[in-house]
């Protein structure tokens, strides 16, 4: 009788305790692997760490689980992928790199993060290559790996990261460059303290202030120099006035001739008039933050986004269609289960005080029919307004957006 069958029979009272006692006990390895893959969100990372503490027998167990039982590597889930290199077993490390090298592998960020914690000098160039990855959450740990390795041959690549559209990547590059003797990179971190931007009511600027302050306080070789700055408050708040002055003086002392910041790294405040937004997070295709403004401006990115002008009337037409489409959804706003991919629509007519949010999400497997056809139609219209021509990481933006939408909710209809 299978364990499942006994458990079912026990639950309806057909077998008693003596039959349950007959069941073989789950080994600690099996228990921790199960919890790492399928436990509650808060338990999974802790269980994965404990799995590592079981040492070589657990490493052997994982190799068997993957190779002999022929389970797909991705079925380990992000938490186990994130600790595979911690076992110190070359076979598991090789599997982590195999995952990183596969653009269709869903947990590449976790795999790189795990590898970064124990980066070896022989791997330095692979981490330099990862700085060019389309997924920001892969680029970010690659920087930390190069820091750990003190791989100063990567200086130029790290300097390029100061122009990255993702603020996490820029902050980490600034931290490493500062610690490697380029104090003017602190300018990027101080600029983050000046941010007060938001994303449809979400305080992205405040979050950046907290994260930058954490680096400035704890992770710089220059020592703790934040002078009581309160990340909760904007840079120009009266309670931050004194700290802001002292931080500026400190910065000038470190870097008498501050470099001009690229546009993407410059602090900005609240951008008025954004009425439609699409936030796409694909574990395979990366993240996209797209906004349409009532003045026919399209912007991509958070913080200080890159802006493009759209033909007059474009956004009014999109809003008209959005209003029609959303009224057909009968108040439903959430589809699917989270895990790997999500796309969120933000709809914010000027007549209401906050945006309505509609979310579609899924795990690593394709889910047929996930996106309601009405939203598919709207997303297709929105995607058609995304410019294809950009610079840097925005080259081929429209194609990238369509690929990400396809990865999350399936093909868009041809409108």
């Amino acid at each position: 009788m299978s364990k499942l069958a006994v458990a079912v029979l026990a639950s309806v009272g057909l077998v008693g305790g003596s039959a349950l006692a007959w069941l073989p006990e789950e080994s600690e390895f099996d228990r921790l692997l199960r919890l790492s893959r399928e436990g509650a969100a808060v338990v999974r990372p802790q269980a994965a760490k404990r799995l590592v503490s079981l040492g070589p027998p657990a490493a052997e167990g994982l190799v068997r689980w993957i190779q002999e039982a022929d389970n797909p590597l991705s079925d380990l889930g992000p938490e186990v992928m994130g600790v595979l290199p911690d076992f110190g077993d070359p076979r598991l490390r090789a599997l982590s790199w195999k995952a990183v090298d596969d653009p269709d592998f869903p947990w590449r960020p976790a795999a790189v993060l795990g590898l970064a914690r124990s980066a070896t000098p022989k791997e330095a160039n692979r981490f330099v290559e990862a700085l060019e990855d389309p997924i920001a959450k892969v680029r970010e740990p690659a920087i930390l790996a190069l820091e750990r390795l003190e791989h100063r041959e990567a200086l130029d690549s790290l300097r390029s990261c100061l122009e990255d559209p993702d603020d996490r990547v820029r902050r980490n590059a600034a931290k490493v460059l500062t610690n490697w003797g380029e104090p003017c990179a602190v300018t990027w971190l101080v600029e983050e303290l000046k941010r007060d931007d938001s994303w449809f009511g979400r305080e992205t600027g405040k979050l950046a202030r907290y994260q930058s302050l954490k680096i400035l306080e704890n992770e710089l070789a220059t020592g703790r120099r934040t002078f009581g700055f309160e990340a909760e408050l904007p840079w120009n708040a009266p309670d931050n006035a004194l700290a802001a002055t002292e931080i500026e003086a400190f910065l000038l002392d470190l870097c008498p001739d501050p470099p001009p910041l690229p546009l993407v790294a410059r602090a900005t405040g609240f951008l008025e008039g954004n009425v439609l937004g699409l936030e796409i997070r694909s574990c395979r295709k990366g993240e996209f933050f797209l906004r349409w403004n009532e003045k026919d401006l399209f912007s991509v990115g958070r913080g200080n986004p890159t802006r493009f002008e759209l033909p007059e009337g474009t956004v009014a037409r999109l809003m008209h269609e959005a209003s029609r489409v959303l009224s057909t959804l009968e108040d439903r706003k959430v589809w699917g289960e989270p895990g790997c991919d999500s796309e969120q629509l933000f709809y914010w007519p000027r007549s209401v005080d906050r945006a309505s949010v509609y979310r579609i999400s899924k795990g690593q497997a394709i889910v047929e029919g996930l996106r309601p056809p009405a939203l598919g139609h709207l997303f297709s219209l929105m995607a058609a307004t995304v410019p294809e021509s950009g610079t840097g990481r925005l080259v081929g933006l429209a194609s990238q957006v369509r690929a990400a939408l396809q990865a999350v909710g399936g093909d868009l209809p041809e409108d």
Partner: protein, 135 residues
Amino acid sequence: MNRPLLLSVLLPLITAGIAVAASSWVEVNIMELTQFDWEPGGELPDSITALDGESIEIKGYMALDTPEGTTTFRLSYYECGCGNAQPNHFVQVDVDDVVGYRPERLTLRGTLSVGEETEDGFVVSLYRLKAESIE
């Protein structure tokens, strides 16, 4: 009758003392609760342990994996796309009436308890809120 409702009934009737009653909800910034490094067994700052048992008001976002028809969910400072949750990155919320995932920022009032709660040897929460109201 819960406290916010009680206040709304009394507001038109009395003027004096309302500020005292309204301010009895200690406003807690979820960023302050969640922006420090912590390991299981580690100490919490005094300013945070002092909030244990307080009636608080707190703003945040439901975790993405909140199912429909639940009476418990994680509240975090920002709606992240990750399933991975560190105990010091969220407040575990308990409500009386069932709720489902709501993507917008929420304001909650209730009683906060602070300290490690473990199940099966794992820390499952550091902060718990018995919510009386959600807006």
